[in-house]
Symmetry: C2
Subunit: 136 residues, 2 copies
DNA sequence: TTACATGCAAACTGTTTGCAAATAT
DNA sequence: ATATTTGCAAACAGTTTGCATGTAA
């Protein structure tokens, strides 16, 4: 078994997920390259191209499990579909309205200042920033 | 016909929308008070309580028309449902994770700084900021 | 009178779920 | 051996659409 596969298996184990055939294959697809953004449907297509037999239902379940385990995060762009992001660190996004794609903005570049007091009894769990770009 | 009703009618006319019974009634519901956030379903319930007969399909159509006309804007929180906002000016939001409600943050309080260069050939069409709050 | 708006039901999209068969431990 | 995971199809929620009927101009 190749080393990179063991890494994926350990990653899943650490997250408390059994390293099943499908989960390992999907994790390799998702985490092989650098950071990326995708929908469930996109991953389904890629899995088919890679001859990995996984049902769409399992992809949804897996992406949600990965998200719960902190391996992915969701990005809310509009109501039509859920996008996932392999970069789980605190960062913001450019959203290309022309083609619906996302590009990361590294946090150290960008700051949100002047935040008013938050309601008592609450904590900030996350700040989402989406810079929507349109073709000129 | 009361004065406030004329205002609504003019507002619709200015937006290029015929002031039909349903559109006038919905506009009064939506724009009577100050700024507010809501889903299509919520407005459907309110219309029923107010004994205004409007089908859910018409509410969806109307909210989308109002949005296209610039009378409303959409707020993307998560994929599960579309939220609308009567405040169409540039402003940001607190999102209460506990109950799914939204509260406006006035723009003059909050600034996004250090934005990196945007890709050539594009313009910023809007910046969305959502501060997610969880109960402590 | 005529173009546009409405209501209903049916279609549709993205997502979740129930359950029998398959699999990891 | 046993608890978990998978795949399928069916269920589901939110939203949109086709078409006959109603209405504003």
């Amino acid at each position: 078994m190749p080393v990179h596969m063991c890494e994926v298996i350990n990653k899943l184990r650490d997250a408390g997920l059994r390293p099943t055939r499908q989960r390992v294959a999907l994790a390799e697809l998702l985490f092989a390259g650098g950071d990326r953004h995708f929908s469930a449907e996109k991953i389904h297509e890629e899995a088919e191209e890679a001859r990995i037999p996984v049902s769409l239902a399992t992809i949804y379940n897996t992406l949600n499990q990965f998200t719960d385990a902190g391996l992915l995060r969701e990005v809310a762009i509009d109501g039509s579909r859920t996008l996932f992001d392999t970069n789980t660190s605190n960062h913001y996004h450019f959203f290309m309205e022309s083609d619906g794609s996302l590009v990361d903005i590294e946090t150290h570049d960008l700051k949100v200042i002047g935040l008013p007091e938050i309601p008592p009894g609450t904590d900030i769990s996350r700040i989402d920033v989406i810079v929507r770009l349109a073709d000129k």
